[in-house]
Symmetry: C2
Amino acid sequence: MARWQPGAAERMRGAALDLFVERGYDATTAADIAAAAGLTERTFYRHFADKREVLFWGSEEFEASFTDPIDALSPDVGAMGAVVAAVVGGAGRFTPERREFASLRAGVVDATPPLRERERDKMARLATVIADRLVARGVPATDAQLAAHSGVTVFTTAFARWVAGDARSPEALCADLFDDLARLTDQLKSSTETV
Amino acid sequence: MARWQPGAAERMRGAALDLFVERGYDATTAADIAAAAGLTERTFYRHFADKREVLFWGSEEFEASFTDPIDALSPDVGAMGAVVAAVVGGAGRFTPERREFASLRAGVVDATPPLRERERDKMARLATVIADRLVARGVPATDAQLAAHSGVTVFTTAFARWVAGDARSPEALCADLFDDLARLTDQLKSSTETV
Protein backbone atom coordinates (compact mmCIF):
# COMPACT_ATOMS: atom_id res chain seq x y z
CA MET A 1 0.00 0.00 0.00
CA ALA A 2 3.01 2.34 0.05
CA ARG A 3 2.76 2.88 -3.71
CA TRP A 4 3.21 6.40 -4.98
CA GLN A 5 -0.16 7.98 -5.74
CA PRO A 6 0.24 10.53 -8.51
CA GLY A 7 -1.59 13.74 -7.67
CA ALA A 8 -2.87 12.34 -4.37
CA ALA A 9 -2.29 15.60 -2.47
CA GLU A 10 -4.05 17.70 -5.12
CA ARG A 11 -6.99 15.28 -5.21
CA MET A 12 -7.35 15.35 -1.43
CA ARG A 13 -7.10 19.13 -1.45
CA GLY A 14 -9.93 19.38 -3.98
CA ALA A 15 -12.01 16.80 -2.09
CA ALA A 16 -11.43 18.61 1.22
CA LEU A 17 -12.53 21.94 -0.21
CA ASP A 18 -15.71 20.39 -1.63
CA LEU A 19 -16.51 18.73 1.73
CA PHE A 20 -15.72 21.85 3.76
CA VAL A 21 -18.08 23.85 1.50
CA GLU A 22 -20.87 21.22 1.56
CA ARG A 23 -20.77 19.92 5.16
CA GLY A 24 -18.59 22.40 6.95
CA TYR A 25 -15.09 22.02 8.34
CA ASP A 26 -16.09 20.59 11.74
CA ALA A 27 -18.27 17.84 10.24
CA THR A 28 -15.54 16.65 7.86
CA THR A 29 -12.93 14.07 8.92
CA ALA A 30 -9.60 13.10 7.37
CA ALA A 31 -11.20 9.71 6.50
CA ASP A 32 -14.04 11.51 4.66
CA ILE A 33 -11.52 13.52 2.64
CA ALA A 34 -9.47 10.45 1.73
CA ALA A 35 -12.60 8.48 0.75
CA ALA A 36 -13.92 11.31 -1.43
CA ALA A 37 -10.55 11.35 -3.24
CA GLY A 38 -10.65 7.55 -3.66
CA LEU A 39 -7.73 7.08 -1.26
CA THR A 40 -7.16 5.55 2.16
CA GLU A 41 -6.91 7.42 5.45
CA ARG A 42 -3.34 6.12 5.65
CA THR A 43 -2.51 7.91 2.40
CA PHE A 44 -4.08 11.05 3.87
CA TYR A 45 -1.73 10.97 6.87
CA ARG A 46 1.23 10.25 4.63
CA HIS A 47 0.66 13.73 3.14
CA PHE A 48 -0.88 15.84 5.91
CA ALA A 49 -0.54 16.13 9.70
CA ASP A 50 -4.27 16.86 10.05
CA LYS A 51 -7.28 18.13 8.11
CA ARG A 52 -6.33 21.75 8.77
CA GLU A 53 -3.18 21.29 6.68
CA VAL A 54 -4.95 20.11 3.53
CA LEU A 55 -5.80 23.61 2.31
CA PHE A 56 -2.17 24.66 2.94
CA TRP A 57 -0.60 22.05 0.73
CA GLY A 58 2.10 23.53 -1.52
CA SER A 59 3.24 26.26 0.90
CA GLU A 60 6.90 25.72 -0.03
CA GLU A 61 6.25 26.39 -3.70
CA PHE A 62 4.06 29.32 -2.71
CA GLU A 63 6.93 30.85 -0.72
CA ALA A 64 9.47 30.07 -3.45
CA SER A 65 7.39 32.00 -5.98
CA PHE A 66 8.07 35.08 -3.83
CA THR A 67 11.68 34.40 -2.89
CA ASP A 68 13.02 33.12 -6.25
CA PRO A 69 12.51 36.54 -7.93
CA ILE A 70 14.52 38.18 -5.12
CA ASP A 71 17.39 35.76 -5.65
CA ALA A 72 17.40 36.63 -9.37
CA LEU A 73 17.84 40.39 -8.79
CA SER A 74 21.07 42.30 -9.21
CA PRO A 75 22.60 43.35 -5.87
CA ASP A 76 21.93 47.05 -6.42
CA VAL A 77 18.12 46.72 -6.28
CA GLY A 78 16.87 48.30 -3.03
CA ALA A 79 14.66 46.77 -0.33
CA MET A 80 11.32 47.93 -1.75
CA GLY A 81 12.33 47.08 -5.31
CA ALA A 82 13.06 43.54 -4.15
CA VAL A 83 9.72 43.37 -2.33
CA VAL A 84 7.86 44.52 -5.44
CA ALA A 85 9.63 41.81 -7.48
CA ALA A 86 8.74 39.20 -4.82
CA VAL A 87 5.08 40.16 -4.59
CA VAL A 88 4.57 40.47 -8.35
CA GLY A 89 6.29 37.08 -8.70
CA GLY A 90 4.05 35.48 -6.08
CA ALA A 91 0.94 37.06 -7.59
CA GLY A 92 1.92 35.62 -10.98
CA ARG A 93 1.09 32.10 -9.74
CA PHE A 94 -2.57 33.02 -9.61
CA THR A 95 -3.65 32.57 -13.22
CA PRO A 96 -7.31 33.00 -14.25
CA GLU A 97 -8.08 29.26 -14.15
CA ARG A 98 -7.10 29.20 -10.46
CA ARG A 99 -9.61 31.86 -9.44
CA GLU A 100 -12.58 29.54 -8.85
CA PHE A 101 -10.65 27.28 -6.48
CA ALA A 102 -8.99 30.27 -4.77
CA SER A 103 -12.33 31.98 -4.30
CA LEU A 104 -14.04 28.92 -2.76
CA ARG A 105 -10.99 28.32 -0.57
CA ALA A 106 -10.98 31.94 0.64
CA GLY A 107 -14.67 31.68 1.57
CA VAL A 108 -14.08 28.57 3.67
CA VAL A 109 -10.91 29.97 5.29
CA ASP A 110 -12.59 33.28 6.21
CA ALA A 111 -15.56 31.47 7.78
CA THR A 112 -13.52 28.91 9.79
CA PRO A 113 -11.48 30.25 12.75
CA PRO A 114 -8.81 27.49 12.81
CA LEU A 115 -8.23 27.90 9.06
CA ARG A 116 -8.17 31.68 9.43
CA GLU A 117 -5.48 31.40 12.12
CA ARG A 118 -3.49 29.00 9.93
CA GLU A 119 -3.79 31.42 6.98
CA ARG A 120 -2.42 34.25 9.16
CA ASP A 121 0.42 31.96 10.18
CA LYS A 122 1.14 31.29 6.49
CA MET A 123 1.26 35.00 5.68
CA ALA A 124 3.40 35.76 8.76
CA ARG A 125 5.85 33.08 7.63
CA LEU A 126 5.85 34.58 4.15
CA ALA A 127 6.80 37.98 5.59
CA THR A 128 9.57 36.30 7.58
CA VAL A 129 11.07 34.45 4.61
CA ILE A 130 10.95 37.61 2.46
CA ALA A 131 12.57 39.65 5.26
CA ASP A 132 15.27 36.96 5.65
CA ARG A 133 16.12 37.20 1.93
CA LEU A 134 16.35 40.97 2.20
CA VAL A 135 18.69 40.69 5.19
CA ALA A 136 20.81 38.24 3.15
CA ARG A 137 21.09 41.02 0.53
CA GLY A 138 22.43 43.41 3.17
CA VAL A 139 19.18 45.22 4.06
CA PRO A 140 19.11 46.24 7.76
CA ALA A 141 16.75 44.02 9.80
CA THR A 142 14.20 46.74 10.61
CA ASP A 143 13.99 47.93 7.01
CA ALA A 144 13.63 44.31 5.91
CA GLN A 145 10.75 43.74 8.31
CA LEU A 146 8.90 46.93 7.38
CA ALA A 147 9.36 46.33 3.63
CA ALA A 148 8.43 42.64 3.79
CA HIS A 149 5.27 43.29 5.84
CA SER A 150 4.25 46.11 3.50
CA GLY A 151 4.61 43.71 0.59
CA VAL A 152 2.55 41.02 2.29
CA THR A 153 -0.17 43.58 3.09
CA VAL A 154 -0.26 44.56 -0.59
CA PHE A 155 -0.41 40.91 -1.64
CA THR A 156 -3.20 39.91 0.77
CA THR A 157 -5.23 43.00 -0.13
CA ALA A 158 -4.79 42.32 -3.86
CA PHE A 159 -5.60 38.64 -3.42
CA ALA A 160 -8.80 39.42 -1.48
CA ARG A 161 -9.95 41.68 -4.31
CA TRP A 162 -9.06 39.13 -6.97
CA VAL A 163 -11.01 36.30 -5.32
CA ALA A 164 -13.91 38.74 -4.83
CA GLY A 165 -14.07 39.16 -8.62
CA ASP A 166 -11.96 42.23 -9.47
CA ALA A 167 -11.31 42.12 -13.23
CA ARG A 168 -7.62 43.00 -12.90
CA SER A 169 -4.95 40.28 -12.67
CA PRO A 170 -3.32 39.75 -9.27
CA GLU A 171 -0.09 41.31 -10.64
CA ALA A 172 -1.93 44.39 -11.89
CA LEU A 173 -3.79 44.68 -8.57
CA CYS A 174 -0.48 44.49 -6.68
CA ALA A 175 1.09 47.16 -8.89
CA ASP A 176 -1.92 49.45 -8.31
CA LEU A 177 -1.81 48.82 -4.54
CA PHE A 178 1.92 49.60 -4.37
CA ASP A 179 1.05 52.92 -6.04
CA ASP A 180 -1.69 53.46 -3.44
CA LEU A 181 0.76 52.66 -0.65
CA ALA A 182 3.31 55.13 -2.05
CA ARG A 183 0.63 57.83 -2.22
CA LEU A 184 -0.54 57.12 1.35
CA THR A 185 2.93 56.99 2.90
CA ASP A 186 3.80 60.23 1.12
CA GLN A 187 1.47 61.82 3.69
CA LEU A 188 3.89 60.70 6.40
CA LYS A 189 6.32 63.44 5.44
CA SER A 190 3.91 66.09 6.71
CA SER A 191 2.01 64.13 9.37
CA THR A 192 4.97 62.94 11.46
CA GLU A 193 6.23 66.51 11.71
CA THR A 194 2.99 67.67 13.32
CA VAL A 195 2.75 64.89 15.96
CA MET B 1 -18.84 33.43 46.37
CA ALA B 2 -20.08 35.82 43.69
CA ARG B 3 -18.52 38.82 45.46
CA TRP B 4 -16.65 41.35 43.36
CA GLN B 5 -12.91 40.73 43.58
CA PRO B 6 -11.06 43.99 43.08
CA GLY B 7 -8.16 43.54 40.71
CA ALA B 8 -8.88 39.82 40.27
CA ALA B 9 -8.17 39.85 36.52
CA GLU B 10 -4.85 41.69 36.96
CA ARG B 11 -3.81 39.32 39.73
CA MET B 12 -4.61 36.27 37.65
CA ARG B 13 -2.77 37.78 34.69
CA GLY B 14 0.35 38.29 36.80
CA ALA B 15 0.06 34.80 38.31
CA ALA B 16 -0.44 33.24 34.85
CA LEU B 17 2.64 34.94 33.46
CA ASP B 18 4.75 33.76 36.41
CA LEU B 19 3.51 30.18 36.01
CA PHE B 20 3.93 30.17 32.22
CA VAL B 21 7.54 31.36 32.69
CA GLU B 22 8.31 28.87 35.50
CA ARG B 23 6.47 25.72 34.41
CA GLY B 24 5.55 26.39 30.83
CA TYR B 25 2.15 27.06 29.28
CA ASP B 26 1.14 23.41 28.74
CA ALA B 27 1.87 22.39 32.35
CA THR B 28 -0.22 25.25 33.82
CA THR B 29 -3.98 24.90 34.41
CA ALA B 30 -6.66 27.50 35.03
CA ALA B 31 -6.95 26.10 38.59
CA ASP B 32 -3.19 26.65 39.11
CA ILE B 33 -3.51 30.26 37.99
CA ALA B 34 -6.51 30.94 40.23
CA ALA B 35 -4.78 29.31 43.25
CA ALA B 36 -1.57 31.30 42.69
CA ALA B 37 -3.66 34.49 42.70
CA GLY B 38 -5.49 33.40 45.88
CA LEU B 39 -8.77 32.96 43.98
CA THR B 40 -11.08 30.09 43.03
CA GLU B 41 -11.27 28.39 39.65
CA ARG B 42 -14.85 29.66 39.46
CA THR B 43 -13.57 33.23 39.70
CA PHE B 44 -11.10 32.41 36.93
CA TYR B 45 -13.88 31.34 34.58
CA ARG B 46 -15.93 34.39 35.50
CA HIS B 47 -13.18 36.48 33.87
CA PHE B 48 -11.67 34.28 31.15
CA ALA B 49 -12.92 31.68 28.67
CA ASP B 50 -9.69 29.66 29.03
CA LYS B 51 -6.03 30.00 30.08
CA ARG B 52 -5.06 31.31 26.64
CA GLU B 53 -7.17 34.43 27.23
CA VAL B 54 -5.45 35.48 30.47
CA LEU B 55 -2.56 37.22 28.73
CA PHE B 56 -5.04 39.05 26.49
CA TRP B 57 -7.02 40.65 29.27
CA GLY B 58 -7.69 44.34 28.61
CA SER B 59 -7.87 44.08 24.80
CA GLU B 60 -10.78 46.54 24.64
CA GLU B 61 -8.79 49.25 26.41
CA PHE B 62 -5.79 48.39 24.25
CA GLU B 63 -7.84 48.95 21.08
CA ALA B 64 -9.44 52.09 22.47
CA SER B 65 -6.00 53.62 23.06
CA PHE B 66 -5.55 53.45 19.27
CA THR B 67 -9.05 54.41 18.17
CA ASP B 68 -9.78 57.23 20.65
CA PRO B 69 -7.06 59.48 19.15
CA ILE B 70 -8.62 58.98 15.69
CA ASP B 71 -12.02 60.05 16.98
CA ALA B 72 -10.45 63.21 18.44
CA LEU B 73 -8.95 64.37 15.10
CA SER B 74 -10.37 67.10 12.91
CA PRO B 75 -12.01 65.74 9.73
CA ASP B 76 -9.32 67.16 7.42
CA VAL B 77 -6.54 64.88 8.73
CA GLY B 78 -5.69 62.28 6.06
CA ALA B 79 -5.58 58.49 6.35
CA MET B 80 -1.90 58.21 7.29
CA GLY B 81 -2.06 61.17 9.65
CA ALA B 82 -4.89 59.40 11.48
CA VAL B 83 -2.89 56.16 11.59
CA VAL B 84 0.13 57.97 13.04
CA ALA B 85 -2.10 59.50 15.73
CA ALA B 86 -3.58 56.06 16.48
CA VAL B 87 -0.24 54.28 16.72
CA VAL B 88 1.45 56.98 18.78
CA GLY B 89 -1.62 56.97 21.06
CA GLY B 90 -1.49 53.19 21.46
CA ALA B 91 2.27 53.25 22.04
CA GLY B 92 1.74 55.85 24.78
CA ARG B 93 0.15 53.18 27.02
CA PHE B 94 3.50 51.47 27.36
CA THR B 95 5.19 53.49 30.05
CA PRO B 96 8.63 52.48 31.43
CA GLU B 97 7.19 50.64 34.46
CA ARG B 98 5.28 48.32 32.12
CA ARG B 99 8.38 47.15 30.26
CA GLU B 100 9.31 44.30 32.59
CA PHE B 101 5.88 42.68 32.39
CA ALA B 102 5.66 43.33 28.63
CA SER B 103 9.06 41.82 28.06
CA LEU B 104 8.33 38.62 30.03
CA ARG B 105 4.94 38.35 28.34
CA ALA B 106 6.50 38.73 24.87
CA GLY B 107 9.00 35.95 25.64
CA VAL B 108 6.23 33.54 26.66
CA VAL B 109 4.00 34.48 23.71
CA ASP B 110 6.80 34.08 21.16
CA ALA B 111 7.72 30.65 22.54
CA THR B 112 4.14 29.28 22.74
CA PRO B 113 2.36 28.59 19.41
CA PRO B 114 -1.24 28.95 20.69
CA LEU B 115 -0.36 32.29 22.34
CA ARG B 116 1.49 33.42 19.22
CA GLU B 117 -1.59 32.68 17.11
CA ARG B 118 -3.79 34.55 19.59
CA GLU B 119 -1.38 37.52 19.51
CA ARG B 120 -1.62 37.61 15.71
CA ASP B 121 -5.38 37.52 16.02
CA LYS B 122 -5.20 40.48 18.42
CA MET B 123 -3.08 42.50 15.97
CA ALA B 124 -5.29 41.55 13.01
CA ARG B 125 -8.30 42.76 14.98
CA LEU B 126 -6.45 45.97 15.80
CA ALA B 127 -5.82 46.60 12.09
CA THR B 128 -9.51 45.95 11.41
CA VAL B 129 -10.79 48.36 14.07
CA ILE B 130 -8.37 51.08 12.90
CA ALA B 131 -9.40 50.52 9.26
CA ASP B 132 -13.08 50.71 10.28
CA ARG B 133 -12.51 54.09 11.97
CA LEU B 134 -10.76 55.37 8.85
CA VAL B 135 -13.67 54.22 6.66
CA ALA B 136 -16.04 56.03 9.06
CA ARG B 137 -13.99 59.19 8.32
CA GLY B 138 -14.57 58.74 4.59
CA VAL B 139 -11.31 56.97 3.68
CA PRO B 140 -11.82 54.46 0.83
CA ALA B 141 -11.75 50.84 2.08
CA THR B 142 -8.53 49.85 0.29
CA ASP B 143 -6.64 52.91 1.49
CA ALA B 144 -7.95 52.27 4.99
CA GLN B 145 -6.70 48.68 4.93
CA LEU B 146 -3.25 49.57 3.59
CA ALA B 147 -2.81 52.46 6.02
CA ALA B 148 -4.09 50.51 9.05
CA HIS B 149 -1.86 47.50 8.34
CA SER B 150 1.15 49.76 7.81
CA GLY B 151 0.46 51.33 11.20
CA VAL B 152 0.14 47.95 12.91
CA THR B 153 3.41 46.81 11.31
CA VAL B 154 5.12 49.92 12.68
CA PHE B 155 3.60 49.35 16.12
CA THR B 156 4.54 45.65 16.36
CA THR B 157 8.08 46.36 15.11
CA ALA B 158 8.50 49.21 17.61
CA PHE B 159 7.04 47.13 20.42
CA ALA B 160 9.40 44.21 19.70
CA ARG B 161 12.36 46.58 19.91
CA TRP B 162 11.09 48.17 23.11
CA VAL B 163 10.64 44.84 24.94
CA ALA B 164 14.09 43.81 23.66
CA GLY B 165 15.58 46.78 25.53
CA ASP B 166 15.79 49.66 23.02
CA ALA B 167 16.35 52.84 25.05
CA ARG B 168 13.80 54.88 23.08
CA SER B 169 10.19 55.15 24.25
CA PRO B 170 7.59 53.22 22.22
CA GLU B 171 6.26 56.55 20.84
CA ALA B 172 9.75 57.62 19.74
CA LEU B 173 10.37 54.20 18.17
CA CYS B 174 7.09 54.44 16.26
CA ALA B 175 7.95 57.94 14.99
CA ASP B 176 11.36 56.70 13.82
CA LEU B 177 9.81 53.66 12.13
CA PHE B 178 7.23 55.80 10.32
CA ASP B 179 10.18 57.80 8.99
CA ASP B 180 11.86 54.54 7.91
CA LEU B 181 8.66 53.42 6.20
CA ALA B 182 8.38 56.74 4.33
CA ARG B 183 11.98 56.41 3.16
CA LEU B 184 11.45 52.80 2.03
CA THR B 185 8.19 53.42 0.21
CA ASP B 186 9.77 56.41 -1.52
CA GLN B 187 11.68 53.77 -3.49
CA LEU B 188 8.34 52.59 -4.91
CA LYS B 189 8.20 55.59 -7.19
CA SER B 190 11.15 54.29 -9.19
CA SER B 191 10.82 50.53 -8.59
CA THR B 192 7.25 50.06 -9.82
CA GLU B 193 8.14 51.79 -13.08
CA THR B 194 10.86 49.26 -13.81
CA VAL B 195 8.79 46.10 -13.14
